[in-house]
């Protein structure tokens, strides 16, 4: 199970990759595996404002549908349009081509000190505890 070292993680199994004052958001390999084959990802429009922990979309698999939660507050600046035709990218490459949205962070500096976001070691422990 991959848990890349350059990402931060939520307890709901979203990941966040900080890139200057922006961040890319997706779901973890563990989450994608639990969901099974992803058939649809509903994402917010560019320009949507998100609060931390706010539901920003829905991911549907052949088994279930789950909400997606924003790891940090910000404004959506881009979404992964490739997922509309190829939702399976979430299963195939959850940390790469399966990314979901890019957000301009309200407070990039706060990400490091966020209570909600875990470092890779903490997330690995969470998975092991499960």
């Amino acid at each position: 199970m991959q848990v890349p070292d350059d990402l931060r993680y939520t307890p709901d199994h979203e990941w966040l990759r900080v890139d200057g004052d922006e961040a890319v958001i997706g779901i973890t390999e563990f989450a994608a595996g639990e969901l099974g084959d992803v058939v649809f990802v509903e994402l917010p429009a560019a320009g949507t404002r998100l609060d931390a922990a706010q539901a920003f979309g829905v991911i549907e698999s052949v088994k279930t549908a789950s909400d997606l939660y924003a790891p940090a507050a910000g404004e959506v600046v881009a979404l992964n349009e490739a997922l509309a035709d190829r939702p399976e990218l979430v299963n195939d490459d959850p940390y790469g081509e399966g990314w979901m949205i890019r957000v301009r962070l309200d407070d990039p500096a706060a990400v490091a000190g966020s209570d909600r976001l875990m470092d890779p070691a903490a997330y690995r422990s969470l998975l092991e505890a499960d």
Binding site: V39, F40, E42, A45, V58, E60, S61, T64, A65, D67
Partner: protein, 449 residues
């Protein structure tokens, strides 16, 4: 044969397991004044007495009337094939199967229904059906809200009164806004008013809903309304009468994103208000927002054709509060009636039904013009139109005494519009005869003299 599922012993055992002494104890948390008292029912009747009682009651129905009433529910000839297939036990007695794929026959009829309605409307995907045209219209308005992430829907005042009322109910109590568009003297929706409302950048519009034909029987400028809606980023919803689609342009052709309608005219008898059939079709890219059930065709592991419930994750048993609709049942038997009706008539037969109705309505208009009764609106119509009759309510009652159902009193739908106080909405279909039209004209002559 007993119809009671539980014996006294059964109930005593269950109460014992629960450790209570009566069923009423289960309802103890509900305040006494909110609980129903005992049911005051007459003694049970034997079968013979019951049949006599029902026959007596049925004699109070007026089935002798010559009808010129339409207003959203239409009399058509129903071929014998419809009832013959509907009354097969496999279809007639079954409820939505809980393990649907085991009922391939049921799923196949729903799939065929969806395919026929897709062809009729010129749109890509069709739901497995809804309760009625009003429910389908309200669902389409909500679809436009979800698809655009906007909160304001514009609905024509000339849309069927029940459809507007149902949509208003669906929009109550939340953040959504529903506003009505005015109409012009010709009976069409005021597109200048539509353009003004769409231009309000502070309150962007999710969807625009127009009827075709509308509640006055008038044909709306659908293509232009669709163009205006799309230019403002809104979806366009066409609420159609399905038989008319054999003559009129299919909604997919004039840019409707969603098409809804009342399917009763497709082989479902008029029977005191229902059950009816809600049609809903949409463009393929809106499929995730389509409410209710969808049946798809696939192949099984052995490569055989098979039918399945598809895109189930839109539905409430999986997606809970974020489901596309709070309803995920359908009107399978009525949808089957529509399927058999359309398959029996075929495109040419349906065209004949629509064209004959339009011809009969034109004859009706001419017959009434002979006695000085003129139309209310100047716009084009298909098989239904409004006329102005002096003291319309009294005239309607006197026509009834003479054996004629003289259409709908439009004043009941538009009590605040003085221009419609004396308006009767009249309809003709392929079963209206020239003789009936002549007799109606003569009766009307007596009534208004």
């Amino acid at each position: 044969m007993t119809y009671g599922p539980h014996t006294t012993d059964d109930r005593a055992r269950m109460l014992g397991a629960l450790g209570i002494d009566s069923v009423d104890t289960l309802f103890g948390d509900i305040p006494a004044e909110l609980r129903a008292g005992g049911l005051d029912l007459p003694p049970a009747l034997d079968e013979l007495s019951l049949a006599r009682r029902l026959e007596d009651l049925s004699r109070r129905n007026r089935v002798d009337l010559v009808s010129f009433l339409g207003a959203g529910a239409y009399r058509h000839h129903i071929p014998a094939t419809v009832d013959q297939i509907l009354s097969r036990g496999e279809f007639y007695t079954s409820y939505t199967p809980y393990q649907p794929e085991i009922s391939q026959g049921t799923l196949q009829t729903i799939y065929e229904y969806q395919s026929l309605i897709a062809e009729l409307t010129g749109l890509d995907v069709v739901s497995a059906s809804h309760y009625d045209g009003a429910a389908a219209t309200a669902e389409a308005a909500l679809m436009s809200v979800r698809a655009t992430r906007r909160e304001r829907v514009l609905i024509s005042r000339a849309l069927h009164s029940h459809y507007r009322a149902a949509t208003r109910t669906y929009f109550e109590g939340g953040r959504l806004q529903l506003e009505e568009l005015p109409t012009l003297a010709d009976g069409t929706t005021d597109l200048a008013a539509l353009e003004r409302e769409l231009a309000d950048a502070e309150r962007p519009v999710a969807g625009v809903v127009l009827g075709q034909p509308n509640a006055f029987g008038i044909l709306e400028p659908m293509a232009e309304a669709a163009r205006l809606a799309h230019a403002a980023g809104a979806l366009f919803v066409a609420a159609v009468e399905p038989v008319s689609l054999a003559i009129l342009a299919p909604p997919g052709e004039y840019g409707a994103d969603i098409c809804v309608g009342e399917g009763q005219a497709l082989g479902i008898a008029l029977q005191y208000g229902g059950p009816y059939l809600g049609l809903l079709a949409a463009r393929a890219d809106l499929v995730r927002q389509v409410p209710g059930r969808l049946v798809g065709r696939t192949t099984d592991v052995d490569g055989r054709r098979a039918y399945v419930m598809t895109l189930r994750a839109r539905e409430q048993d999986i997606r809970r509060d974020k489901a596309a609709s709070n309803i995920c049942t359908n009107q399978a038997l009525c949808a089957l009636a529509a399927t058999v009706y359309l398959a029996t008539l075929g495109p040419h037969g349906l065209h004949d039904v629509a064209a004959l109705g339009a011809a009969r309505a034109a004859e009706l208009e001419l017959a009434l013009a002979e006695i000085g009764i003129a139309r209310v609106h100047s716009g084009a119509y298909l098989n239904e139109f409004a006329v102005r009759v002096p003291d319309a309510r009294r005239a309607h009652a006197e026509l009834l005494e003479r054996g004629f159902l003289g259409g709908l009193l439009l004043g009941d739908w538009y009590p605040d519009d003085p221009g419609l106080t004396d308006a009767l909405l009249l309809c003709a279909t392929e079963i209206t005869t020239a003789d009936e039209i002549d007799r109606f004209r003569d009766a009307m002559t007596e009534v208004i003299s």
